[in-house]
Symmetry: none
Subunit: 276 residues, 2 copies
DNA sequence: AGAAAAATGGAATAAAAATTCCATAGTATG
DNA sequence: CATACTATGGAATTTTTATTCCATTTTTCT
């Protein structure tokens, strides 16, 4: 039970948690992890609820509290209840509070991006063509290999797509332009290219998509306007209109679309292979 | 006991409170007044505490709860606890349901990700610690060089940050692990590291942050729990809780936070150089 | 591989909290 | 001013929740 001084603030609590969670046995670490992720529930839950959430016995959770320096759960909860501050004025009020902090303060900016992201997401549902999305999923689900390309602003989207495909064991390569290599010859028959680009469109992306198209490969495009330069590649065009804040955009809608696309492809593949 | 329908939301509760508090006898009105003034403590207090606060007997407080339409104090408290930790939908089971009903169409998935993104964004407005955010902006604004690190799921965020910094002519390098090089020696005095990582935390990211911290450099962390492993690096911790959909998350909130951070740093730098 | 130590699960117990009940005080009504 | 009705305080009871204890399993060290 290390030392006996119980944390008296959230700061101290977090600090101690980080400090000792490494050296804990399995069950107690589960507690630590759950608590780290759900700190806000401690004040309003019972040991039974929390231990169930962490997947351990109440007694284990009890020991965890003691390791943290408290005499028991009650004392730990007391700390959280005392520092409990209401944070539930609704979203609109919170946003106003953020904005009210001064025009170009970080929090005001954050509020702008949050709001822009929310608007973009709301638009997404209405701007994406669902039929095209389904076609894109079909095409990608049966591709032997998926090539993902996107630079600059689109690169985060491209890399997240690759990450998702990798996690689902779907063959995909990210054309990231490292070393200025141009591995276009990796594109083989049947492969599908996902090209992501926004105005001002990056030439490399367009080139790669065009190259693939000329070879007879299918192209799925994620872009901001259906009439952009990807048009020429006969791509399955998924158009996202993202709301800008100044010169930047939050990418919320684009990333959401991308991940939904990836997961759909994963689900479809599962279905196809089950069917066999 | 007017009607028997218990309020299920804060609005309903307040409405009813205003409605009936006029016609209450003395002690019960005391309860009403105290509750109106200390609504936020209901979730974390006992009848004994609340009744003492209102200056009445526990049994009186009990009767007050019943007048409000609840069967007792416990039910009333339950409402407040649930409202506080507004339960995030459990997307894992929701997705299973979708799959069970055969409706795991791309559009259904997209809708889930959009919804998850929206929730995450709304939450962001209340979970980010504004003070820390401002400190992080200050620190970054005066850094001669910013090192951005984040792998796997966090890599899109890291790359978007780098992109934003580059666009604003701010010196920043992305530690992307290409070639398994470990350019930690690029970190010089005064440089600041932005480390982005989510559970399960990637060791490389933590290592780099720890290395920088040992050298006496400041670290800004974007992570999912304030008590994660980054704690040890004394980092300025920006915690984002993102809603998962199955095994994936839409990253909407994280990206929004990141871009707001970047743009704020840019604005701050402009201000600093104008002042000279 | 075997002994010692640590960790775990689950039931038993203790503590705390909610809820009910009732005797008494207060108030309105005829 | 008596009577019926309502409100109140406080103790008794029930329910819920926290905590401890110990037999069993797992890990560690020799």
């Amino acid at each position: 039970m290390s030392d006996q001084t119980a944390p008296v603030s959230l700061e101290e609590f977090n600090h101690r948690l980080a400090e000792i969670s490494e050296t804990m046995p399995k069950r107690l670490r589960q507690c630590a992890e759950y608590v780290a992720q759900n700190t806000d529930r401690i004040a309003v839950s019972t040991v039974a609820e929390l231990s169930a959430g962490a997947g351990v016995q109440p007694s284990a959770f009890m020991r965890f509290c003691q390791l943290m320096g408290f005499t028991g759960f009650s004392e730990m909860q007391k700390m959280f209840r005392e520092t409990y501050a209401q944070k539930w004025p609704d979203y609109t009020t919170r946003l106003e509070n953020l904005r009210a902090t001064g025009d170009d303060s970080p929090s005001a900016l954050l509020a702008e991006f949050v709001e822009a992201g929310r608007l973009s997401l709301e638009n997404l549902a209405s701007t994406v063509d669902l039929e095209t999305l389904e076609k894109a999923v079909d095409v990608l689900a049966s591709a032997p290999m998926i090539h993902v390309v996107g630079f600059r602003r689109a690169f985060p989207v491209a890399s997240y797509l690759s990450y998702a495909f990798e996690k689902m064991n779907i063959a995909a390569v990210l054309h990231d332009g490292v070393g200025n290599l141009n591995p276009r010859h990796a594109i083989r028959e049947g492969d599908v290219v996902i090209a992501i680009t926004f105005a001002p469109y990056s030439q490399e992306t367009i080139d790669l998509a065009a190259y693939a198209h000329d070879l007879g490969n299918k192209v799925v495009a994620i872009s901001d306007a259906p009439s952009g330069p990807m048009r020429k590649t006969d791509a399955l065009m998924l158009a996202v209109s993202e709301v800008d804040v100044g010169a930047f955009r939050a990418l919320s809608a684009t990333i959401s679309l991308a991940i939904a696309l990836a997961v759909s492809v994963g689900a479809k593949r599962d279905k196809l292979s089950d069917g066999k």
